[in-house]
């Protein structure tokens, strides 16, 4: 309580003008570097050709361009993978913490296998080897690969969150006769979730970015659409920068939403 109020006091004394000035200075520097870099490249910038790939205006209506179509696919893949990844993560975290040797070993094997091989290889393995066997679509292969991969990392986050809850909480629940299931559901997880929200956000952001890899198996996500446009128009820099900006907007929005959520959670407790 005391430490945090001192910290707030110290920060609030600093004038925001200094922060704004520092930010502007950094941005000016970056712009200058980019500017000199590209002028030496002798690249012919054609930004005016980009907007049509975002939106077109036809017959009095706005139509989504290929990049926005791609973004929607990226959202679908990320959303589905996020839900699955957190499920895989939660299940394997609980397995790792369970009393069963078999469950612990299976979870451990999954974790080590996934974390110690590249995502691209996993994606190819699932798409070229597993998909024909189980008749998976490209989309399903992409979602499965991403969620298995991110799930392994989410698992460690969940585990750390659960372990960080004081053992007195377990003991109190135990002495009240609560089952392990109820203890997790009503006591441990609600407290753990608050603590792991920041690292889980980073993981969700990684997922958004990693989803770009699915373009390698020809899933028409944002990146794939971009590559397609580039191969037709040779607007390499413009399109890649636009794609990067779109990813940035998505991930920053995600961070803002989660920090709002954190603040709300923080009020009770």
């Amino acid at each position: 309580m005391k430490a945090s109020s001192i910290k707030v006091g110290r920060y609030s004394k600093r004038s925001p003008i200094i922060d704004v000035a520092a930010f502007l200075l950094v941005m000016a520097g970056l712009t200058w570097i980019t500017g000199t870099g590209t002028s030496k490249l002798g690249y012919n910038w054609q930004w005016y050709r980009v907007p049509q790939y975002l939106f077109t205006y036809e017959g009095g209506r706005w139509l989504a361009g290929p990049l926005i179509d791609g973004l929607m696919v990226t959202f679908e893949i990320t959303g589905a993978s996020l839900i699955l990844a957190f499920s895989f993560g939660m299940i394997s975290a609980l397995c790792r913490l369970s009393d069963s040797y078999l469950a612990r070993m299976i979870a451990r094997g999954y974790l080590e296998l996934i974390r110690n091989t590249p995502l691209l290889v996993q994606l190819f393995f699932i798409y070229f080897v597993m998909a024909p066997i189980f008749d998976l679509s490209r989309f399903a292969s992409a979602v499965l690969a991403l969620s298995l991969f991110e799930g392994a990392y989410a698992s460690e986050i969940f585990r750390a969150g659960i372990v960080s809850i004081h053992k007195g909480q377990w003991e109190a629940a135990h002495s009240l006769g609560l089952s392990t299931f109820d203890t997790y559901r009503r006591i441990i997880l609600p407290q753990a979730i608050r603590r792991i929200l920041p690292p889980l956000t980073s993981q969700a952001i990684s997922l958004v970015k990693d989803s770009a890899l699915v373009s390698t198996i020809a899933v028409y996500d944002l990146t794939m659409r971009g590559r397609e446009i580039i191969s037709e128009t040779f607007l390499a820099f413009e399109i890649w920068f636009t794609i990067a900006a779109i990813y940035l907007v998505v991930t920053v929005s995600l961070s803002i939403v989660v920090s709002r959520m954190e603040r709300r959670f923080g009020e009770s407790g």
Binding site: H166, G168, Q169, E171, A172, H174, S175, L176, G177, L178, S179, D182, R186, I187, P190, Q191, R194, S268, G269
Partner: protein, 250 residues
Amino acid sequence: MDKEVSGEEIIVVGNVFKTFPGGVCALSDFSIKVRRKEVLVVIGPSGSGKSTFLRCLNGLEEVDKGSITIDGIPLDDDKQNRLEIRKEVGMVFQSFNLFPHLTVLENLNLAQILVRKKSRKEAMEFSMALLNKVGIPEKANIFPNHLSGGQQQRVAIARALAMMPKVMLFDEATSALDPEMTGEVLAVMKQLAREGMTMVVVTHEMGFAREVSERMVFMESGRVIEEGPTEQFFTNPKEERTRLFLSQVL
């Protein structure tokens, strides 16, 4: 004390051995019996196994050897038996261990609803009655972090009582509190004792022990060094070791 302690034994601990990983011997051939409505106070130097003894009684620690029976139910490998014992044995911890993400009232309601399968309304009524009993009904909708230590411990006692346990265990319930707050918690414990709750209390509060308990146990190195009726234990201890310990703490 004006209550009747019946002859029936509710806790029977027979020849229990408990060694922690690393070779620390916490309980060594430990046996004791507690009768219904009796208040037993356990004292001893730190590391003597007092807390371990309490924690074995509700299955928080597994014993290596020996038997524990609570109200006729053996604390064995049978899951149903263990659950039954956990329901019937309430515990109050030194560090309160309230659930910080739940309000005081929700702390009390939780096990009533999940374990005793009461309706929300029934649970709520009983919880409020218990909060009245421990003297803080006005804190019902507050989160535990906003309470003083003494208030938190009283809530913790009420939470344990919400399960209507047959036995209450107190593991140094006042050790984390300043003297003023210690008084308010001890008052609640005294009231419980008067009402005939079977209690096993680990404490350093000798005044409380002398006033409330029927029987005293002095432990060291995981063994019972001396046990006896409270008055005799304090005025005329048999063992030299007990005498020495009492002279240091009184």
